[in-house]
């Protein structure tokens, strides 16, 4: 078991009103799984991903990541945990415009205290893995949207995290680059990477082995292959 969520609730304050976004979410993810979380816009998918990715704290409920209870962890330990266990892929690749592709990919390793030359080696290997071995020194503005997203995936994977979290990774891409990215996720999963993907596009979700649906703050199983 990599991840276990029990009775997770998340409320937001809107002015003086308490707005519950997630209500009693239960979810377990085991090693090597590839799941998609679907739901309409504003249903709380990103909120859930932030909770899984240790970026946010729930209003109530229990989160267990790799056997560790996340309740009561301080900010620094959460940061370290994100660095070690979680790989994020955002809708817009979120690359730093001043850094080259390798430097972007190597960024998480900086926070792990790995030496510069070794960081570069690891980043280079990862970029080769996503098919961008010939674009190492390119700046983000010299790369296409699909290439940027592949650099972002390389960055998410470079530290060998337990969990790859993708929030609408194809949302900003054209169909063809979207398919390339999906193919990359499929390959990574075949190699044993655990993936949680958030999307509202059914054709994207069908690549996953298991689908969940969020509606009215609750999660239900959508389909299984």
């Amino acid at each position: 078991m990599i991840l276990e969520l029990r009775d997770i609730c998340k409320d937001y304050m809107r002015g003086k009103m308490v707005v519950p976004v997630l209500k009693d979410i239960d979810l377990t993810v085991s090693e090597g799984e590839y799941i998609a979380i679907m739901g309409p816009s504003g249903s709380g998918k990103t909120t859930l991903m932030n909770l899984i990715g240790c970026l946010d704290r729930p209003t109530s409920g229990t989160r267990i990541l790799r056997g560790e209870d996340l309740a009561g962890m301080d900010d620094n330990r959460m940061a370290d945990l994100r660095n070690r266990e979680i790989g994020f892929v955002f809708q817009n690749a979120e690359l730093l415009p001043g850094l080259s592709a390798v430097e972007n990919v190597a960024l998480p390793l900086v926070y792990r205290g790995i030496k510069k030359t070794q960081r570069r080696e690891m980043a280079k290997a990862m970029l080769e893995r996503v098919g961008l071995g010939d674009r190492l020194e390119f700046k983000p503005n010299q790369l296409s949207g699909g290439q940027c997203q592949r650099v972002a995936i390389a960055r998410a994977m470079v530290g060998s995290p337990s969990l790859l979290l993708a929030d609408e990774p194809t949302g900003a891409l054209d169909t063809q680059s979207g398919q390339q990215v999906m193919e990359l996720f499929r390959q990574l999963n075949e190699e044993g990477v655990t993936i949680i993907m958030i999307t509202h596009a059914p054709e994207v979700a069908c690549c996953a082995k298991k689908t969940y649906l969020i509606r009215d703050g609750q999660i239900q199983i959508g389909g299984q292959r």
Partner: protein, 418 residues
């Protein structure tokens, strides 16, 4: 850390114009301070040089009463003032920062005591030891110096300075001429002149008088013949040559202390040895010049403060602009402290760079001022170091608030897209 610095420099380079404008306040502040400090230092050194003349660094230690020199032509022999011996002289010459010392007795102005034929001499009469000319930068211009034999055999010989030789024996060879000092005949054996390295180039200060006093001329005789023309046991004066100009004050004080310890004067006599030190006068003049310049430094500091606020402002803008970068870095596992350091380093590098540019500009300004206004400048190493460190401090101080703000950014909000 080093990586942070190089990244900061890169960032500064990427926004050249903005960085320059941000640094401007710091640059102007530091430049003015460096220019002012250089001018102060230059003026100080000029005052020192003008007053003291290059080279000799002589301090005179003499007996004084109630703060005024104790002059023998108006006073009797004071009680309890011991005769200084060769041992004392050697001790004084061996003080730290001292190089040589000379003992002598002196009447700064004699009238009707010394005659060359019918011509009376009015000027200074000194009974000197064998070190006096050396210490005071005189060299034999004509004839010879006093020898040990002259002292041993109580030879009635005299040495004149150039002015005296001119005024007493105009056109004649002064050597071999006879002076009558208190009716005793003294043979002139030599003429001294100031060596070229000791030309006090004062022209505009009252201290000039101290030196011009020599102009009325001096007659020198061996110190052990002094009782023959004046009295036994007159209080001696000591001229001590310091190694450097800066040693003069301390050497003067120590010598006075040494001699004072030997005094056994009555308590109410108010007699003591003290150094009539040109350095002290010079320092007073320097302080006068510094006081006005120090006010300028305060004004320049305001520019630094404004510069610091400018840095804070730009850093706040930068933090806002780079919200996504900060959010992303935190999401990837950067701890708070790392973000804080990153922005602090950036601010400090920015202002330090401003400081360095300011120092260079300040040196340039000082150079221009000295060309245009003719005032001297001297670059001060410590001032440069302090200026750069201080501008770094400004960066850290005014960068702190923006950096804390950056480190406290919530990555969720930072990455949420509008």
């Amino acid at each position: 850390m080093l990586e942070n610095i190089s990244l900061s420099i890169q960032g500064i380079w990427n926004h050249k114009l903005r960085s320059l404008l941000t640094m401007l306040g710091i640059i102007i502040g530091i430049a003015s301070i460096i220019a002012i400090v250089s001018t102060i230092k230059g003026t100080n050194e000029q005052i020192k040089e003008q007053l003291i003349g290059a080279g000799n660094n002589v301090v005179t230690v003499q007996l004084s009463q109630s703060g005024y020199p104790y002059e023998m032509q108006y006073n009797g022999i004071p009680e309890g003032v011991p005769v200084l011996t060769e041992e004392d002289r050697i001790h004084l010459a061996g003080l730290e920062g001292a190089q040589e010392a000379a003992l002598y007795t002196e009447r700064t102005y004699v009238d009707g005591l010394v005659y060359a034929g019918d011509i009376g001499f009015s000027g200074a009469l000194r009974g000197v030891d064998q070190h006096y000319f050396d210490v005071n930068g005189y060299q034999i211009y004509l004839g010879r110096d006093f020898t040990q034999q002259d002292y041993d055999r109580y030879q009635k010989v005299a040495i004149l300075d150039q002015n005296t030789a001119e005024s007493l024996f105009a056109g004649q060879n002064p050597l071999g001429q006879v002076l009558e000092i208190d009716t005793e005949p003294f043979t002139v054996i030599g003429v001294v002149s100031l060596s070229s390295s000791y030309e006090p180039n004062i022209s505009n200060y009252e201290e000039y008088a101290t030196f011009v006093g020599f102009d009325s001329g001096s007659v020198y005789i061996p110190s052990n013949l002094w009782p023959l023309v004046c009295q036994y046991d007159e209080p001696q004066k000591v001229d001590i040559q310091a190694v450097t100009t800066d040693d003069m004050t301390s050497v003067g004080k120590e010598s006075a202390d040494y001699i004072n310890a030997k005094l056994s004067v009555k308590e109410d006599s108010d007699l003591s040895y003290s150094s009539s030190d040109i350095m002290e006068r010079a320092e007073q003049l320097q302080q006068l010049a510094n006081a006005t310049n120090q006010q300028l430094i305060w004004i320049a500091s305001i520019s630094l403060l404004v510069g610091g606020i400018g840095v804070m402002n730009i850093m706040l803008v930068t933090v806002t602009e780079r919200t996504r970068e900060i959010g992303l870095k935190k999401a990837l596992g950067a701890r708070k402290g790392r973000i804080l350091w990153q922005f602090l380093t950036e601010a400090a590098v920015l202002t330090s760079l401003g400081g360095v540019i300011g120092v260079l500009a300040g040196i340039g300004m000082a150079q221009i001022v000295s060309r245009v206004a003719g005032s001297p400048t001297a670059i001060s190493g410590p001032a440069i170091l302090v200026a750069v460190l201080f501008s770094m401090l400004i960066g850290i101080l005014f960068g702190l608030m923006p950096a804390v703000k950056a480190s406290n950014l919530d990555p969720i909000n930072a990455l949420r897209r509008e």
